[in-house]
Amino acid sequence: MLNTHRWFFVIGVVIAALLMLLGGLFRPFSNLLQRAALPLVRLASAAFTPAANSISELSSQKKKEADLTDLEKRISSLALDYTKLQSLEEENASLRAQAKFLKTTGYDSVGARVISRKIDDQHATLLIDRGLNDTLEIGEAVVTDNGIYIGKISAIQERIATVLLTSDPSSRVAAAIAGQNKLIGVLEGRGTGATVLTFIPSSENLKRDQIVVTSGTEQKIPGHLPIGIINDVQGKPTDPFLNAAVEPLLSGDRVLFVSVLRPTVLGPSL
């Protein structure tokens, strides 16, 4: 009888704790703990994560070799095709525009370290060591040090934030083709590193190897940030919309440092 009472008590405590978690009652306490433990996590991340990443890269050597063969084929095809050289010229113009955008479009960047990640067929997220205290906001674009767009902030706490990578199944970003200043479709994540450009009007003449960039039509995400390359265009000319498989320029799961693009007006006042 006593044991039954004890189990009922334990189940009651568990349900009460769950309800308090759902209500966010532990949030102040967890913020305090995060503040205390973040230096330790940063230290561990700096010490061990690069080594773990190297092991992971070594194990995917075979895939890299296959990728390399495919890339070599692409390079030779690009060298032969003059029209594709023209698209490279457009890409160059886009990259030039991107190099200037930090000064010209009203964004500054906040550097952050990746302290954890969750990458599988259902998730593609990174955890970074910057948060509300660094005046970051949900929806802000996250790029690598060379300006490639990898995702946006999806959840934020005082000192940490979650980055939703473009390949996450719940990720959506408005996209354009480099050199064309118009929205062309929505880039959707498909998990396991895959992305698809959807809702492309069938009148658009898309080709393999064209560069996909951010369209700039979303709040907090500037335009002309390179995302990926078109691998394959799917759909019939009679379909209202086409789809295109897009290969990200950079796999988010290898990234250790990122920059969050923050509108300058949100920066700390000096």
């Binding site: 769950l18 759902l22 561990a44 061990f48 994560t49 992971s56 954890s116 969750k118 599988d120 998730h123």
Partner: protein
């Protein structure tokens, strides 16, 4: 007391491993040490140290995990209570087989509770994505079994606490 402090320090290190190292390793190296070491604590020491180890690691999972929120601290508290119940009522002989039985039960409970709480939080809009295991369940279980087997053998060698002391019964002609 010293053992408990050691358990807390080891728990923090295990939590740091699961946050900063394990997610960057290939899926085949699904070494999630909190649960297997908790089992070893339960088998070789007591529930108090197992709690100290697991909860100090689970705090880090709750605070810094990139996966959808899954109430790791609460889940581990319940899992250890259930495993302690199993260890004290069913698998009482402190053998390698008992440790492996606890490991399999523990991992099933951990994955099932993660799925239930993850789904609950997803429904309530507290999590942006449904819960998913950090690695395929089979690999996770295989890594756990290997980890616990090696750990158990090393502990048995180092501490001799699992050695049976068999003294031959005196025969009637010896008395």
């Amino acid at each position: 007391m010293r053992q408990t402090i050691l358990a807390i320090i080891l728990g923090i290190l295990a939590g740091l491993w699961e946050i900063t190292v394990q997610p960057f390793l290939p899926a085949r190296l699904a070494i999630c040490p909190i649960l297997p070491i908790t089992i070893l604590y339960l088998v070789s020491q007591n529930a108090k140290n197992a709690y100290a180890f697991a909860l100090s690691g689970a705090v880090f999972l709750d605070l810094f995990s990139a996966r959808p929120f899954d109430a790791a601290l609460l889940r581990y508290a319940v899992i250890i209570a259930l495993l302690n119940f199993i260890a004290s009522r069913l698998l009482t002989n402190r053998s390698l087989y008992a440790a492996l039985g606890l490991t399999i039960a523990g991992r099933i409970l951990e994955q099932a509770s993660g799925w239930i709480i993850g789904t609950l939080f997803y429904w309530f809009g507290k999590s942006s994505a449904p819960w998913a295991a950090s690695a395929p369940f089979g690999w996770l279980l295989l890594c756990d079994v290997v980890f616990v087997s090696i750990g158990f053998v090393l502990l048995a060698r180092a501490s001799r606490q699992f050695h049976q002391s068999i003294s031959p019964a005196p025969h009637s002609w010896e008395t």
